[in-house]
């Protein structure tokens, strides 16, 4: 994996970064929880297309 050739910010100055990867079970449980989250602002009606004036 070429970690230092990925993106301008990470190659021009060869900046490095850290990221930790959690076990899949935690990610999946987070996703399930997200489906119940209350949305404010864009998307609050449940149909973001309507909010942009686009017929669906």
């Amino acid at each position: 994996m070429r970690l230092n050739s990925d993106r301008r910010g990470f190659l021009g100055t060869a900046t490095a970064m850290a990221a930790s990867l959690f076990a899949p079970v935690r990610l999946f449980s987070a996703t399930r929880a997200a489906s119940k989250i209350e949305v404010s602002g864009f998307g609050q009606t449940g149909n973001p297309y309507d909010e942009l004036g686009i017929p669906t």
Partner: protein
Amino acid sequence: MTVLGGSILRPELEAVMAMAGRHFVSIPDLEVAAGKRIAEMLKLPDGYSAIVTSGAAAAIQSGLAGILTGDNEALIRQLPDLTGMKSEVIIQKSHRNPFDHQLRSTGVKLVVIETRDELRQAVNDRTAMMHFSNFANASGQIKVDEWVKLAKQYNVPCMNDAAADTPPVSHLWDYTTMGYDMVTFSGGKAMRGPQCAGLLIGRKDLVAYALLNNSPHEDTLGRSQKVGKEEIIGMVKALELYLKEDHDALANEWQRRLDGIARELAKIPGVTTSFFTPDIANHVPHMQISWDSRISAAPKDISQSLRQGKPSIVIGGDEGRQGLVMCSFMLQPGEDKIVAEQLSRALREHAA
């Protein structure tokens, strides 16, 4: 970081993307509407709009393709055969980078210059665009504000590739305000939008031409750069959430995480830390971790140990700096403690 999956989506963003997936919609109509909303949110100058692309690289290619073809359907189908079109893009030598492949993919020739005089001599009837790589601002002789002024003087469209250059948040509108005809951003970095999303912000006519050269339009150079309805909606939501952030508080939180890790590492004899913030491109607090001979491991050994651990942690080096360098703005709450523990473990394993 694209190779690691970009960023982690906010739960609210995931929810809105899920909503987007429950309907059919005209993608061209959605792109126009999303662009209008993005322009409103960013308070872009009159005459500017945006489209969501599959990333900043796609924005570069589609943006240039639009300049080359306009709305001429025959020319759009003809690319990358440039017969009858302009065929050169001017770029500073220090601004060359792997993402100018997206420029070259349109068929253009890159004309590389270093000085103002060379630029003046390079502009001709074949010049389609002047390209600026924002991260390279410091290394080129002509800086970001002068580049656009010269482009106006020569009546040549100019693009600024600012993929990784927010934060600061103001960069989202700084360059269009400066006069750039087109600016590109990654969506899946600090904005925490969908990984396969980016923004092409620019003059309405050029943005419209770019869309004609992009998916879902067929027989186009950009047909392979498909953007889904979920990504378009997701990018609008991500931008809304990003603009609402307390950016000073975020910067403080990123530094607090690094401070905590530094305190843990300071307990290991021979290990030192220091902080810096790049002027541009990932303009967030960074920490350099160095050690003396009391730790009998090279940075790549520690890096490899962390990568193979569970959870796997990726920390690399930085050109011109000793040891390891990390930033914390992509970490989830609590992950800084895990990084501190794992770094301490890896270093202590090699302590004298």
